[in-house]
Symmetry: C2
Subunit: 148 residues, 2 copies
DNA sequence: CTAGTGATGAAAACCATTTCCATCTAGCGT
DNA sequence: ACGCTAGATGGAAATGGTTTTCATCACTAG
């Protein structure tokens, strides 16, 4: 996996418009990250790996991916956007470790239903919600070193 | 209430450090807003109302207010921070209208407990959460004009 | 192969937020 | 009251993520 690998991202890229090498590369990198990444970091990684991709393209692709529902987005405490590939149609909430940054998907029926109920009782319609959970994962709580 | 009114914000300002006219003014304006406002908007309002307050001071005060727990903050879809005065120690989640921008506080024990439970079952500790709900309020759903 | 439309990317534009720094001021000791 | 000093202020400049611009390039159709 040196750099250019058009065969990586199956048909998903097609959903965005014209299938190009860059888009495949970005999607591929996003999938490989297996976790939230910022456009900046993703860009840095691709460049470091020897790929030629412009930052603008990363932003465009990531935004398109999110709009197409192929990626989830979240904002960190500084307001920066982070993206994560969304395998299926569900999985929308994550719990992320404040120390190592890793994140895991969590079950959220309860919240979904709560959100719906709130909508029903408040007179609001077309409710949409964003839930962000952070904590310290087991590995980082360990007796020894936290974020060594 | 032309402009300078040091008596507006009771003792709350004192919690921030030295009680100054500007801080009282900012807190006052935040309270009067009764809803989320961005630093920029708050600044524009104060200037328009004839008050002399620097943007930096608004940011500093708002940030301090949030850190002191006297204000709740949220980020809009563009990543901008919005602040809202927090009357008591609770009330931490809001439902805001995407059309008119108004927001109402919602009951969230359920989510709080859900968050705790997720923490317990995932091995994460020190869980903290952010929940943002948006929808279209009754007034804006009306048969006639939405955001007139 | 050629044209045409969409995609790319380097650099400039944007814009909210933060930082600098010279000036001002509230609070305190005298 | 008076002057001192740490803390506060605000205009301007710096930051830094994200978006736009625009000239060039690469897919796809004909």
């Amino acid at each position: 996996m040196t750099s250019t690998d058009t065969t990586s991202a199956p048909g998903e890229v097609a959903l965005l418009g014209r299938p190009t090498q860059q888009r495949a590369t970005v999607l591929r990198a996003l999938i490989d990250s297996e976790d939230f990444v910022s456009a900046q970091v993703l860009h840095a990684r691709l460049i470091a790996a020897g790929n030629r991709v412009g930052l603008s393209t990363i932003y465009r692709t990531l935004t398109a991916l999110a709009e197409a529902g192929l990626a989830d987005t979240m904002r960190d405490s500084e307001g920066e956007r982070h993206f994560r590939h969304r395998p299926g149609p569900d999985h929308r909430h994550y719990l992320r470790c404040r120390t190592c940054g890793r994140s895991v998907a969590v079950d959220s029926h309860l919240v979904e239903r709560w959100a719906e109920r709130i909508g029903a009782t408040s007179g609001f319609t077309e409710i949409s919600h964003t839930v962000e959970l952070t904590g310290i994962c087991a590995d980082c709580t360990g007796p020894t070193a936290p974020a060594a």
